[in-house]
Symmetry: C3
Subunit: 271 residues, 3 copies
Amino acid sequence: VRAPVVTFLSDYGVSDDFVGVCHGVIARICPPARIIDLTHGIPRHDVRMGAIALAGALPYLPEGVHLAVVDPDVGASRRAIAVQVADGRRLVGPDNGLLSLAAQAAGGVVAAVDIAQSPLRLEPVSATFHGRDIFAPVAAHLAGGMALEEAGRPLDPDQLVSLTLPEPVFAPSGAVSAEVLYRDTFGNLGLNVTHAHLPASGLRIGRTVTVGRPGAEPLAARFVRTFADGQRGELILYEDAYRRLAVAVSHGDAGQRLGLAPGDGLTLSPA
Amino acid sequence: VRAPVVTFLSDYGVSDDFVGVCHGVIARICPPARIIDLTHGIPRHDVRMGAIALAGALPYLPEGVHLAVVDPDVGASRRAIAVQVADGRRLVGPDNGLLSLAAQAAGGVVAAVDIAQSPLRLEPVSATFHGRDIFAPVAAHLAGGMALEEAGRPLDPDQLVSLTLPEPVFAPSGAVSAEVLYRDTFGNLGLNVTHAHLPASGLRIGRTVTVGRPGAEPLAARFVRTFADGQRGELILYEDAYRRLAVAVSHGDAGQRLGLAPGDGLTLSPA
Amino acid sequence: VRAPVVTFLSDYGVSDDFVGVCHGVIARICPPARIIDLTHGIPRHDVRMGAIALAGALPYLPEGVHLAVVDPDVGASRRAIAVQVADGRRLVGPDNGLLSLAAQAAGGVVAAVDIAQSPLRLEPVSATFHGRDIFAPVAAHLAGGMALEEAGRPLDPDQLVSLTLPEPVFAPSGAVSAEVLYRDTFGNLGLNVTHAHLPASGLRIGRTVTVGRPGAEPLAARFVRTFADGQRGELILYEDAYRRLAVAVSHGDAGQRLGLAPGDGLTLSPA
């Protein structure tokens, strides 16, 4: 028999003991649970980045309980939720859209409960660390076999907060107005342009692309297959491991070179 | 039957392989042990911070062996110890006070051994990495069921090094002279003022507080329940998840704003 | 029966979800596998540093499958390999020398397969994340009991890329021309001079040593046994936990003080 799995994503970082304490809480409640840390490096309060990471990673994770905490409004009036999605996975976290992209990708929410007043909470509940006092305990009890409806009050799935990612805009010229969605530790910039968008654009692998930024000189980049296809220091465009178009500097840092961060716009024009 | 638990706190950081090698050592000696990394982000050599983190986290951790290594005097004459505390937990680490706050909170030390010359050490013992060569092996053998007295030479618990945290000072005006004990990754500053101290102060939730620092303009702060009760950028005072008074900047970094770090003093005056 | 062990070293860092996704992939394929993160803090693309860390740590790790990914040429023509070494361990990673020092230390490679086109890959294979799509799946299947020859095409072990570390040069005066091999998180600098080299040098514990750097004033250091033998701020020389000569500043950062980084040369002269 397999150990139940709890995966865990947050913006807690690895400097403090926030993550370790949540592991402890889960292990006390559900000793056989295996905890997989997906990442704790989501930029502070960046709900959208957390949602994108969770949705992208989910297909690679064992089925289980998926705990996610990026929670700028902890202790305020946002709901705390546990949901079951169509493929059987259960997701636990704040109701601020963090779980929504993963839930959509997994077939949508089939049942939801509000766990803000869950009987499973650790008392006294702090006002600032619901990861420890609400989310981890609920995730652990679900991993241990508890039914979703025992974890909180029923909630209409249609009332949950949902994120939508911005769509790229395609010009007749083949140019694409895009937005930076994320930046990885190497400075590579993931855009809101996917493999499926490419035919609608004039961007083709092997071609040169002009990268335009507001208030700065346009730069030339090459659309390649992988980092090693670029010269050291060359600006490149490639499809990343989640099939999103991304901008990189071969052996360098594109975020720094271009002065772009998540949320910024840029245009990609076939040269 | 439950897997034995080893929790692990250190100042080793996550850039090097120090932590991973200790995991390997534990897994070789006690294969079924489950290792929970509490944190490895204690600031280098900050024994007091490590002691506070361990004591605060312990109630949330499964009972087991609690390994802690913040060891500025590794290889010098400080003792290496393993202790059993009143509630049955065992703690392993250097005898520099790191374990003392946790031991006190868990009812005090009931038995102690000096493990510097333990037969369980890995030979040759390095002069600089006792985490790998002494502490991890002892923790693993204890997790595997070995009795404390087999791990080293008996030691009088009264001889162990003990830390005491500074007490806040209360003025008749209701003002409090406090000290910063820790700073988390978000820049929030934890003080040596606990929930139990508040009645002796003039500080009340919902009220404004003047924060005084040596050689700098006093600043106004509001005593709130949670981050979300503050305006973005507002200086706030709140009870943190360990029921200590803490200073934060809503969506910002209080350590940076106030220019304060652990060990610094400040005064909190009801306005 | 023991759980199979997969150890994991990379330059992925802990900010992104690269490591967590690989854990998920392994856990899906081989649910009982225990994954030990050796480190993910190898400097980006630093194959030699990764090779040194893996070789040094291996004796402290349980026998199992040892996954390592530092892969500047991902998606290009470098081979992807799985090898078995003389002591029974299996290593998985890119064929760029990363595995070579560990393989040598473990008695040499006895069998090797090219896994670039392995039937075990996750499809579609990305051009940039072979950790997820090739290396982790192969490691997981090996941990689950699959034979090496089922993981890829047979490869002549003599054709594998192999690293050699630079040797120190000894002058008749007893001076040593050395090179910095690594720098740990505390700024300590590990050199290419081992315990076995010392008799050929004029360097003796307890003595003063002159540290020469190109284009900078020489500095005096003391050869001590451990950090605590140095005064706060003193430049010291010591044997590190892997029995390599290392340079440190007591309670400080030697890399910063000396302006030296991995790959830089320095001379050590008995004073």
